[in-house]
Symmetry: C2
Subunit: 451 residues, 2 copies
């Protein structure tokens, strides 16, 4: 059991969690001249291999790229990313249809490797002389009276006690720091699970290298109550994710025998089966993850503690925005700290004020997009609506931006994007109504003339 003592020896910021958000925040703070220590529960991924238990690739888009650019890492990250310019829909017979995301080729989301990006961020943080990273320290508790963190360190889980000036909780959806806050008075908290879980499978590269399917697309097999998606990786593989219900005939709880799994795939994902040589083996081996939305308030305790990313607003992955939103948190927190240089409590308050309604808006959008992806993405009326929407966008790019595009390709705050989309929808309905009325009037006039 060890402990630090004097206040002037304390780092300016102690970050708990060295995933994507924590590592990026360390880059921001380190570049702003603060002394930063990061604690990470896992071993150094550069020595121990990839991060475990999390999705393998992620879709990086405008908000995330902006934050990476601010710390000088955007170009490096984009170099090993694969742009996905639209959705490739696979129907039950294996027929394909393509929906572009943007108004032109420049609007793409980028498939990046979680592990690779995390290493890039860690390397960048550690290059800063005032940033230090400590691995294999699992945060167990915080005493908010004295702002003392308790860790279980190393393989022996030795207790290590560390005092902190300000703690940044980037310890993820199952945050220990947030759990501590839950015991404070008047802490609003909710965790809500989808009835669906997820499991990852791999489509290997083609023989002799290269991709077995269109590389610059996000592939979707929408099947009503369940679906599969696939994102490309730089090595020519795709990572597939099954989003299936736990219960019911097409659910994980029912599909347990090799035979049932194979039959299910051959019936519902026939064109994918030839690309999944290790299907049964991977299906057996890979775990089923659950999908949780977390909301809470407040996100901070005076100048002692502030939460970031999944720790305060975990979302389900159907808008590809979890990481992008967390990176935007880092950018906003950095901005608020710069605006209130002498007053961290004020900075943390301003940060929460700016982010909370946007995180709530995103959480709702992510659940809605799940229903869109699995149910509607393949329907004719949905495709028509999408086409019309993109057409309007091309015709009136300043007046009409589809919600998906505002969320993915702009930095308009999420809540404002939702409000703008609703206003656009109303205006469109009015225009259609007026058009209909004008048409009807014209028809009557014609009839009158010839009657």
């Amino acid at each position: 059991m060890s402990s630090q003592a004097h206040d002037d020896e304390l780092p300016d910021f102690t970050i708990v969690g060295c995933g994507l958000a924590g590592a990026l925040m360390a880059c921001y703070l380190g570049r702003a001249g603060h002394r930063v220590v990061l604690y990470e529960k896992r071993a150094d991924p550069r020595k121990a291999g990839a991060f475990e238990g999390r999705s393998i690739n992620l879709a990086l888009s405008t908000r995330g790229i902006h934050a990476l650019r601010e710390v000088g890492l955007a170009d490096e990250v984009l170099k090993s990313a694969i742009p996905m310019r639209g959705r490739m829909i696979h129907d039950e017979r294996g027929a394909l249809s393509y929906q572009p995301y943007g108004k032109d080729e420049s609007q793409a989301i980028n498939s990046v490797s979680r592990g690779g990006l995390n290493v890039t961020l860690l390397d960048a943080a550690e290059r800063l002389p005032n940033v230090r990273v400590v691995f294999q320290h699992r945060c167990q508790d915080i005493d908010l009276e004295t702002n003392t963190l308790r860790f279980a360190a190393g393989q022996d889980e030795e207790t290590v006690v560390v005092r902190a000036r300000s703690v940044i909780g980037a310890d993820g959806a199952y945050s220990a720091l947030r759990e501590r806050m839950q015991h404070l008075g008047r802490f609003d908290y909710s965790q809500e699970f989808l009835g669906h879980g997820y499991k990852e499978l791999t489509i290997p590269a083609a023989e002799g290298g290269g991709f077995r399917m269109e590389r610059n697309a996000l592939h979707i097999w929408p099947r009503g109550h369940y679906m599969m998606i696939a994102l490309p990786n730089v090595d020519g593989t795709f990572t597939c994710t099954l989003f299936w219900p736990f219960e019911g005939p097409s659910g994980f709880d029912a599909l347990t025998t090799d035979e049932a799994v194979r039959r299910h795939f051959e019936t519902h994902f026939p064109d994918a089966v030839p690309h999944l040589p290790a299907l049964i083996e991977e299906y057996r081996r890979n775990p089923v993850g659950s999908l949780m939305t977390v909301r809470c308030r407040p996100w901070r305790v005076t100048d002692k503690l502030v939460l970031l990313g999944d720790a305060c607003h975990a979302v389900v992955p159907f808008f590809g925005q979890g990481m992008n939103c967390a990176f935007e948190d880092c950018a906003v927190l950095n901005e608020c700290l710069a605006r209130h240089p002498g007053d961290r409590a004020a900075a943390f308050e301003a940060y929460e004020w700016k982010r909370k309604e946007n995180a709530d808006a995103l959480a709702g959008l992510c659940v809605e997009n799940f229903y869109e992806m699995r149910d509607h993405v393949a329907s004719a009326s949905f495709l028509l609506k999408k086409k019309l929407s993109l057409l309007l966008y091309r015709l009136f790019p300043n007046a009409y931006v589809p919600l998906y595009n505002m969320v993915t390709f702009t930095r308009i705050p999420y809540a404002e994007a939702v409000r703008r989309a609703a206003a656009q929808e109303r205006a469109l309905k009015l225009a259609l109504g007026l058009g209909l009325a004008a048409g009807t009037a014209a028809l009557f006039a014609l009839l009158h003339r010839y009657s």
Copy 2:
């Protein structure tokens, strides 16, 4: 550290928490012939004095009375209760107006002492030879693999480990057992606080005994964003509860000096001030409690653990239903256990299935009723609506029952009561619309005749 060993020595049910719900459940189970052990964190209230930290009196109504009747305690409890037949509204000048709750004098809610009722239930439980109560055992954790409970016992907080067949979690709004379930996968949970807190004050009995205000009423001082209420006690006193916001000029955080408190009362509760001789002293001494709604799902783990009352559905106190709903839980759980004698997992599942939607419906009603009580209860249009509603009820007692009366004076499940109230509302609007149309038609006919 002690431990129990053999399965056949284990009690049939281990109840954690010996508040109102836990003690009543013990009566039900004991009477049904089960061996029951109850663990309570506090000392025996019959030796140590009243239960602390909770409201002093409660409104017992039809659902609660039904459950007490099933265990043979209703008459005894009602003997020391004070019927409240309506709301007595105190306006800012001290003028009174009275709103009856029911269609006649027989419909009343009953002010009972929490402490007294708890002792009655404990006594009844301990009279059963197969029920044992253990005090000063604070539940800290449950291991759901082995169904082992860990307690901190006595003043030395000695660790006591106890195995259980089936655990019933009646450990209240801050349930340790529910918190353990929160760490299982796919446990939906939310805790939500009102921006208002509460503080209790006492109106003593009149000199020479007797009540200083109307005894058979629930007194309300509605003031828009805040209010005070008072319930009578058998000793001639009233327990007042302030429901004030934490923040803002009329909030607990602002009203801290004796002078400010006195001025606030003299301005806004002038007729109460003469009845509150110890106002300042009590205001200073008594704590401010917070008001939380808890929702969760599931309420159970196989046949090992099931939650009851506040532990799975804490509500805010504005419908006087928290205890009544918890007692109804006990009645339903008892019924489900009787229907599935060999299969506790099925009984617990049936119980959750029957109660969850009703608990959710009640949670919503309780928050709505807060806004009704503090904002509308004094308005002319609200009074008119209430009068009209009660008039309809008297005229068509089988067809129209106001929502308040369904909740308070029937055992119609809460969710069904909400649906029926909505249907009644629609029918009423239709009837009013038809009446208006008929009236307009008649008017036109008249005008036509005389034009």
